[in-house]
């Protein structure tokens, strides 16, 4: 449960958020226009029905005169309008919902695109759950508002206008009197909004408190039981539960006082006004009351209040949606973008030479995780990075992949700054294999292919064969079409690694960046991985993070990192001869039998 803390927005902020939301309706102007046209038709139809009955009552029924033709005409008109209106109503309702859904889709795609363009720094500081929540749940809340509040509000407004127009046509004085209802309703709405905003907010907060407490108790139940605090936790939960109950009751009370019962009361008052008006008019002998008009007014009053009830019940949805929208807009306005490339340059990567020149880097601007790093990987060479956790190996890769922007020093590819390559060029020519090979939901082939539709099945298979993944894939019941569930959890980590290799090779990069997996890998797959790695590196400049030193013994250059600095460098043999840090790491991994002197 990721209940966000509710922010309270001022009236002005709410208004700003709403107007910004409404800008999303712009591309749908025509459709909205059409929907409004239908709405107007529907409203007219709704309003005309009672007038026809009024004509029938006043011109025929009270006079007890029934000429055949006009009557049939009247009946026919009534039926046509009623039936026609059924269809118009249907399409009108549909249209508004459809438009709302499309608006939300656009908003969603916008948010998602924005997320894609953000830099890794943003993902470091923001929990994934809350980003997902922005993309889906918050936009869903906005959808609710568009579908059930805004559309309902507009429909109600039209109906009200229609009803009042009809009333004015029928009887101006009575219509004027009926206008008195409006301020009363306005007053109730305002009161409800004021009080329910507070109470409803309180209820939501209590609920999220309750859920937080429950979630925490469930995950910490082991602790609670080990320390025998069950009873205390129960009574604490009881208190929160009680507060939530009280908040719930307060809401029921305020709803009971100001929602439907109150509106129904106003209806009775309106009825009294209409009946009294006609009653009093009837005393004046000259006046003469048209019963049909009375009928029509009463009928209008019946229709008048239902939409108001609905709009009021949905006011809380409106409040939530505005808060959700303000969070969504905050994400849309996020400035932590991915490092930019100068897209005007048209350099390509030909040789694949990589050079780090005095690169110093810090994630937080305080502590440097890389200090003045310089090295050069000539085309086709392998440079291996070794060091324990936190030594800066991954940071080097993060910079090379342009996941983070660096300020000091320079990274050059083929002698030109990495910043002067187009993003596409970098992505095409540099292939990264992550330590934790992330597999997407789909099939093996979709995971190797990713979104590259140009890749033929033949090429896909060749890539898999090249990295030794073919053998195990072939044994699967559905082979390349085998389902990959969430994060590929049905495959061993070694198999996931091989699929990730195939994915990288299928893209045929010039530069290979490897972050070796630390996870335990069964021996059979391990062998396949080693063969695959060797093949992949052939003809490609490779930067490899190695956890197992055995895998990089043939590297042209090994950099030993410690606290963000290169403390040793050279080939495997050279480093062993130094008997320094590398030597000790080697001993650690290959058994201590050679060396007792350390103890």
């Amino acid at each position: 449960m990721s209940e966000e803390k509710q922010t309270v927005l001022s009236g002005k902020d709410q208004w700003l958020v709403l107007t910004r939301l409404l800008t999303y309706t712009a591309p749908f102007k025509k459709q909205i226009g059409f929907a409004f046209f239908l709405l107007i038709l529907m409203t007219i139809g709704d309003v005309v029905g009672p007038i026809l009955i009024k004509v029938f009552i006043d011109d025929f029924l009270t006079l007890r005169s029934f000429p055949y033709e006009p009557l049939m005409g009247l009946a026919a008109a009534y039926i046509v309008i009623q039936v026609g209106n059924v269809f118009i109503t249907y399409f009108q309702l549909m249209k508004f919902q459809e438009i709302a859904l499309k608006i939300i889709q656009q908003l969603r795609v916008d948010v998602f695109s924005r997320v894609q363009s953000l830099g890794m720094r943003y993902f470091d500081k923001t929990p994934a759950g809350s980003i997902v929540s922005r993309v889906t749940n918050d936009t869903e809340a906005i959808k609710e508002m568009f579908v059930s509040v805004l559309a309902g509000f507009i429909q109600s407004a039209f109906l009200l206008v229609g009803i009042f127009s009809a009333m004015f046509i029928l009887n101006v004085r009575l219509a004027l009197i009926c206008l008195l209802i409006l301020p009363i309703i306005f007053f109730i709405m305002k009161a409800y909004r004021t009080y329910s905003a507070v109470f409803y907010q309180d209820l939501r907060e209590r609920l999220s408190e309750l859920n937080a407490k429950l979630a925490e108790s469930l995950s910490g139940m082991g602790m609670v039981q080990a320390f025998r605090q069950e009873q205390r936790m129960q009574s604490e939960f009881g208190e929160t539960n009680e507060k939530h109950y009280n908040a719930g009751m307060r809401n029921i009370k305020i709803d009971g006082l100001l929602l439907r019962p109150a509106i129904d009361m106003v209806y009775i008052l309106a009825l009294m006004m209409v009946l009294s008006f006609f009653g009093i008019t009837s005393f004046d002998a000259a006046g003469g009351v048209e019963i049909g008009v009375l009928y029509a007014f009463i009928n209008y009053l019946d229709r008048f209040f239902e939409p108001i009830n609905q709009v009021m019940q949905r006011l809380s949805i409106f409040q939530q949606a505005i808060v959700a929208a303000s969070r969504v807009f905050k994400l849309l306005d996020e400035k932590e973008l991915a490092p930019s490339q100068s897209e005007s340059c048209s350099h390509t990567i030909e040789k694949g030479e990589i050079e780090f020149r005095n690169v110093t880097f810090s994630y937080d601007g305080k502590q440097n995780v890389l200090k003045n790093i310089s090295f050069r990987a000539r085309p086709g060479e392998t440079v291996a990075l070794v060091g324990h956790t936190g030594s800066g190996k991954s940071s080097i890769i993060n910079l090379l992949m342009r996941f983070y922007e660096f300020e000091q020093g320079e990274i050059l590819i083929d002698g030109k700054s990495i910043k002067y390559y187009q993003k596409n060029v970098l992505r095409e020519k540099m292939g990264l294999v992550l330590q934790d090979p992330f597999l997407f939901y789909g099939t093996i082939s979709s995971n190797i292919r990713l979104y590259d539709d140009k890749l033929t099945d033949q090429e896909l298979r060749e890539a898999a064969e090249f990295v030794q993944a073919h053998t195990f894939i072939e044994k699967l019941p559905d082979q390349y079409e085998q389902r990959v569930v969430e994060r590929g959890s049905t495959f061993s980590s070694g198999q996931r690694q091989l699929i990730a290799f195939a994915r990288t090779i299928a893209a045929n990069p010039k530069i290979l960046i490897l972050d070796e997996a630390t996870a335990n890998i069964d021996t059979e797959t391990e062998e396949a991985i080693q063969v695959a790695l060797e093949r992949m590196r052939k003809g490609r400049t490779t930067i490899a993070i190695a956890h197992r030193l055995s895998t990089i013994q043939d590297a042209e250059q090994i950099l030993v990192l410690h606290h963000g600095e290169v403390v040793e460098s050279g080939t495997h043999q050279e480093l062993l001869a130094k008997r320094g840090l590398y030597h000790k790491m080697y001993l650690l991994q290959n058994g201590l039998s050679h060396d007792q002197e350390l103890v």
Binding site: M94, M223, I268, L434
Partner: protein
């Protein structure tokens, strides 16, 4: 409707509220009949020119009185019926919580917190709906429907009533039909939404891969497709949803037309007054809601039933660890004898412990070492009696641990878990977890022993600093030390440190261990660890490998042996060296 049977215990418990609520509802349903009747009366009086000032005032007086009465009564039934339903949710939530506190770790291993949460939130709210809106809908729609039809038939005309009602059943049928369709399509829309959710989740978790392959655009396109699917499924919902209003107006319109057509003929024949005809049409308006409600009722009740059954199933889950009748209530103290021939976790084939036997004298320290998964934590879990069902014996203070009540047993044990769990509360509350009323001095003393007092003073709010999921983020080492302080505060007979020093540096570890030694004179301590430095000083060390006890002795004895322990020792010396960048101290 079975769910109302399920809930009968609650209706009985809240007899008064429900009876009052239902009685009030019935009165309101009857009062609703008054305004249309009055309208008819006024119309007829006007039509026949018999309306006088006083009769008009009388009409209005009755109308106003009925309006005010309805307002008050509507408020009352809401409090009674909706209020009771909120009470039901509160009660069931508390029951569920209490049940959760009695469930063993085994229960939690099999279930995800999210699923349990869903029961406590979504299912309870569906049940609450049933006990509130469900009851209201059932009573109100039946009462209103019945009253209106009877009034129309008796007071106006039964033939006209029959004619006017002809289209009405279609409304009940169609609203039920739409409801079922809507439910199904809504389910599909929910699924599409959840796919979209999964997709975003996945893209954000896999953002590095996407960036690596430069596939942002393609990924956005695929997101767009999925969100278009959401639109499609929702439009399918809208197609049904939009049917409700037109259907109502078509059926009501037909009913109106029939009433006016036949009503007018009766007016001409002088069987009916105009006022009655107008009353009649107004009554028709009152029938719309009961007809619609019947359709909804099935959905509400159906959902309530499914939810109630799920919650009941959860509540019926029996307690795994049972106490003996007449279990000892005195917390144990004394020697611990651990003699396990064989233990497997429930539902797990693999043997977790085999032939592990040792004795700890009261006041001694036992060190347990071994790789991850060797069975170190399992020993502690058995000692705390989180699991039963082993072949062997665990004795504490001369009795099997099964002879004690859980409360007594655990009162003697202070446990510091591997995955230091802190609650979203202040540091003080976390340390004083077992005794919230304990003095500040005692809390600080525990924190000093755990070497975390200075750290805490460094926070802006000191001991009042809120930690946990929604508080300040602490380092792993700080969390561990607060967990240690929490266990120390209760000054337990046995202190269990489950690899609890892994995130503190060597110097702090040393300081904690030596203060513990001083302050826990005569009390037993069990320490499990990866790192030998944490257990080196123990009177007895056992080495576990793959659930079996492979070596046992003091540090010196084990070093002498040149076996597993010795190798590990040498290795760790080297590791330490590498971590320091290769320089020997």
């Amino acid at each position: 409707m079975r769910v109302f049977g399920y809930l009968m215990w609650f209706f009985k418990q809240e007899k008064k509220a429900y009876l009052i609520g239902i009685a009030v509802l019935l009165v309101v349903a009857a009062l609703q009949l008054v305004p249309p009747w009055l309208i008819g009366g006024v119309v007829d009086a006007i039509d026949t020119d018999t309306l006088t000032g006083s009769s008009l005032a009388q009409f209005m007086g009755v109308l106003l009185a009925s309006g005010v009465a309805m307002y008050v009564l509507r408020y009352i039934w809401r409090i009674m019926i909706f209020g009771s339903s909120v009470k039901l949710a509160r009660q069931m939530r508390a029951r569920l919580y209490e049940h959760f506190t009695r469930m063993s770790p085994q229960f939690y291993q099999k279930r995800r917190v999210g699923d349990l949460m869903a029961h406590a939130t979504n299912d309870l709210s569906a049940i609450q709906q049933t006990a509130g809106v469900g009851v209201l809908t059932l009573v109100d729609s039946l009462a209103t429907g019945l009253f209106v039809v009877i009034t129309m038939a008796v007071l106006i005309d039964w033939q006209l009533t029959l004619i006017a009602l002809i289209p009405m059943p279609i409304m009940a049928l169609s609203s039920n039909y739409y409801g079922t369709l809507l439910h199904k399509r809504f389910g599909a829309a929910q699924e599409a939404f959840s796919d979209l959710n999964d997709k975003s989740q996945e893209s954000i978790s896999g953002i590095k891969v996407i960036k690596t392959f430069g596939q942002e655009k393609e990924d956005i396109a695929s997101f767009r497709d999925l969100s278009a699917d959401v639109v499609k499924k929702n439009v399918a919902v809208a197609r049904i949803d939009s049917l409700f209003d037109p259907t109502i107006s078509l059926i009501v319109g037909a009913s109106f037309f029939l009433s006016i057509f036949f009503g007018a003929r009766m007016v001409i024949a002088d069987d009916l007054t105009i006022g009655q005809m107008i009353s009649f049409t107004t009554y028709l308006g009152l029938l719309v809601w009961p007809m619609l409600a019947v359709g909804w009722l099935f959905n509400i009740v159906e959902r309530g039933r499914a939810s109630y059954e799920r919650v009941e199933q959860l509540l019926s889950h029996s307690v795994d660890i049972r106490e003996k009748t007449g279990a000892l209530e005195t917390p144990p103290s004394g020697d611990i004898i651990f003699a396990i021939k064989r233990f497997s976790f429930p539902g797990d084939e693999a043997v977790s412990l085999e032939n592990v036997s040792f004795t700890i004298k009261r006041g001694d320290t036992l060190g347990v070492i071994g790789r991850t998964g060797a069975g170190k934590t399992t020993i502690l879990k058995l000692l705390m009696r989180e699991f039963d069902g082993y072949d062997g014996r665990v004795e504490f203070g001369g009795h099997s641990i099964d002879d004690y009540s859980l409360k007594a047993l655990r009162k003697s044990i202070g446990y510091v878990p591997q995955d230091h769990f802190l609650f979203s509360a202040s540091i003080r509350e976390n340390i004083a977890f077992t005794d919230p009323t304990i003095s500040q001095e005692k809390v600080e003393e525990a924190a000093r022993i755990a070497q975390v007092h200075e750290d805490i003073l460094g926070f802006t709010e000191g001991y009042k600093t809120i930690v946990g999921e929604r508080g300040v983020s602490l380092s792993g080492g700080q969390k561990q030390r607060i967990s240690i302080a929490r266990a120390i505060l209760m000054d337990p007979e046995v202190l269990l440190l489950d690899d609890s020093l892994s995130a503190v540096d060597a110097k702090t570890e040393e300081a904690i261990l030596s203060t513990l030694k001083e302050t826990r004179e005569g009390k037993t301590t069990i320490i499990t660890s990866h790192r030998l430095s944490a257990i080196q000083h123990a009177q007895q060390i056992i080495v576990l490998d793959n659930g079996e006890l492979v070596e046992l002795g003091t540090h010196e004895e084990l070093m002498e042996k040149q076996g597993w322990y010795y190798e590990m020792y040498v290795r760790q010396q080297l590791e330490e060296l590498v971590e320091q960048g290769g320089q020997t101290k």
